[in-house]
């Protein structure tokens, strides 16, 4: 059970004036799917790195407040003590390939070798993550010979093989074509169904609306809102924070379709359809 607790987190990169994270407080429970949104420079990536301890262990800079993963305070431990609990996947799949391994299978083994996982256990975990990300058929290919979507799934598999309880994905599909993005989204959904906590930064707002249990809206390093997607996307000031709500929410607004219990607009096609059907009765 990995619970994330963030208390008044403030952070400034070295040699900068502005706070990249400004007083963030929140809690995330095991198994939640959290979507993180906000305009460019709002602090999404910085927040992700603060959860893995890369901020402040790798980046240094001025740091205040506390981040706990379970009872461990992130800033007091080394990155490699934490990364078996909290995995992180980045934007560019190419830059996550180690470059020292000749096959996809060996590439996924990299982290496990470093942590001294015993060989039979290692093989079991690699096979599982290959299957989970649906890339078993490429296991003998050279890592650089994969397509973007396949390479990104390999990067995710490499993290999943370390069996983290939390996985953070920082715009994992932004460099992929629609086909590749879809492959990654489906893979991430499977991880979530397995009970892994997923924290995903993503600009494809429809996807965030469809998958997230809760949505975190950041602006200027501050946590503007952290609630169910319906609530966050129904905010009237959303566009002032640089976020365009999902199409169905905009349609809902235009047609004044509201979910009565929560007094929010729909965020997915399904919801919009239900409300429309309801209205016609």
């Amino acid at each position: 059970m990995a619970e994330i607790k963030v208390e008044n987190l403030k952070y400034r990169y070295p040699y900068t004036e502005k706070l990249a994270l400004d007083g963030i407080t929140c809690e995330i429970k095991q198994g939640e799917f959290i979507g993180v949104i906000g305009k460019n420079g709002s602090g999404k990536s910085t927040f992700c790195q603060a959860l893995t301890g890369l901020v402040p262990t790798f980046y240094r800079g001025a740091y205040g407040g506390k981040v706990f993963i379970d009872e461990i305070e992130v800033k007091n431990v080394e990155v490699d003590d934490l990364c078996q609990k909290v995995g992180i996947v980045f934007q560019n799949p190419f830059n996550q390939v180690t470059g020292s391994k000749l096959t996809v299978y060996e590439e996924i083994a990299f982290g496990l070798e470093n942590f001294g996982i015993e060989r039979s256990q290692m093989r079991k975990r690699i096979d599982e993550s290959l299957a989970l990300l649906d890339i078993a058929k490429y296991k003998d290919r050279a890592p650089f010979d994969l397509s973007g979507g396949q390479m990104q799934r390999m990067a995710i598999a490499s993290i999943i093989a370390m069996e983290p309880e939390i996985i953070i994905l920082d715009e994992p599909t932004s460099q992929l074509d629609p086909q590749g993005s879809e492959e990654v989204f489906q893979a991430v959904q499977k991880l979530s169904q397995k009970g892994i906590t997923v924290i995903m930064v993503e600009h494809k707002i429809e996807k965030i609306a469809a998958y997230s249990d809760r949505v975190m809206l950041l602006d200027d390093g501050k946590l503007v809102d952290f609630d169910i997607p319906q609530k966050v996307f129904s905010r009237t000031d959303l566009e002032e924070h640089g976020v365009v709500p999902p199409t169905y929410t905009r349609i809902g607004k235009a047609l004044n379709l509201r979910v009565s219990e929560t007094d929010t607009y729909p965020v997915t096609l399904q919801e919009a359809e239900q409300l429309l059907a309801h209205r016609q009765e």
Partner: protein, 258 residues
């Protein structure tokens, strides 16, 4: 896949040997003749390396390497043969210039050493995957970080050059001249280097972080996916080679004491 390695996948005796055995062979082929002070031993190793390479069907890959070094050695031979200080005995009189025995013999000694070293390294390099070689060293206690630098270079450099050509293409499609006179190309090169350097700088930093979160700096003892590939004959060969090295050192010490 693109790779810079000279290694060729073959199923020969040499390929099956452990990289360590072949590395010790390189050391032995260089040290034994040096300690024993006997040129004929170097010639012997040279011939033996050639036989091994022929048996593995990779001898043809040594030709370009031998060709280039052969040219250098030939120059040494001519210069030493003609002008070496201490040249006395004429072997070939060509009117204004003459070749001398002392210089030629000296150059021949150099040639034997050079070709011996090149050939024994070929035995190692042409029959061993670089990654296997490094992994074997890491198993023996070599630093995994330095090992990583070596293995990743073989893949990352071709990838980076690929990138560079992508950027060149992009610049060309925006109307930049990359062909033509030297001056034109120099001008075209300048705007090219900054995106290349910047992007590889960012790539490197991102890759460093990606490695970090996969335990690259973890302090516990590493394990290996692949088992060490030593076969029984490896041990026999290693023992013979080590005994050879020790004997040649012993021989050298004895000659000193005498």
């Amino acid at each position: 896949m693109k790779s810079m390695s000279l290694y060729e996948e073959k199923h020969s005796f040499l390929n099956k040997l452990s990289p360590i055995t072949k590395m010790i062979y390189v050391v032995a082929a260089i040290l034994i003749p040096a300690f024993a002070g006997e040129k004929m031993l170097a010639v012997g190793f040279m011939i033996f390396s050639m036989l091994l390479l022929m048996h593995s069907k990779v001898i043809r890959r040594t030709f370009p390497i031998l060709g280039v070094s052969g040219f250098v050695v030939l120059t040494v031979l001519i210069i030493q043969g003609l002008f070496r200080a201490g040249n006395e005995t004429v072997v070939l009189d060509m009117g204004p210039v003459a070749f001398y025995k002392e210089g030629l013999l000296f150059a021949l000694g150099i040639a034997i050493n050079v070709f011996n070293i090149i050939l024994c390294f070929c035995v190692l390099v042409l029959s061993t995957k670089p990654s296997d070689m490094v992994e074997e060293l890491v198993r023996k206690g070599f630093s995994p970080r330095i090992g990583y630098v070596f293995t990743s270079l073989f893949q990352l450099i071709p990838q980076m050059t690929d990138r560079m050509s992508t950027i060149t293409d992009a610049q060309k499609s925006r109307g930049m001249e990359t062909e033509g006179s030297l001056m034109i190309r120099m001008k075209a090169f300048l705007p090219l280097i900054s995106p290349v350097i910047m992007s590889s700088f960012i790539d490197t930093k991102e890759r460093a972080i990606a490695l970090e979160v996969r335990g690259f700096n973890a302090k516990n003892k590493k394990t290996f996916l692949n088992e060490s590939t030593k076969i029984p004959v490896d041990n026999v060969i290693i023992i013979i080679l080590v005994v050879g090295i020790v004997c040649s050192i012993g021989w050298r010490i004895m000659t000193w004491l005498r």
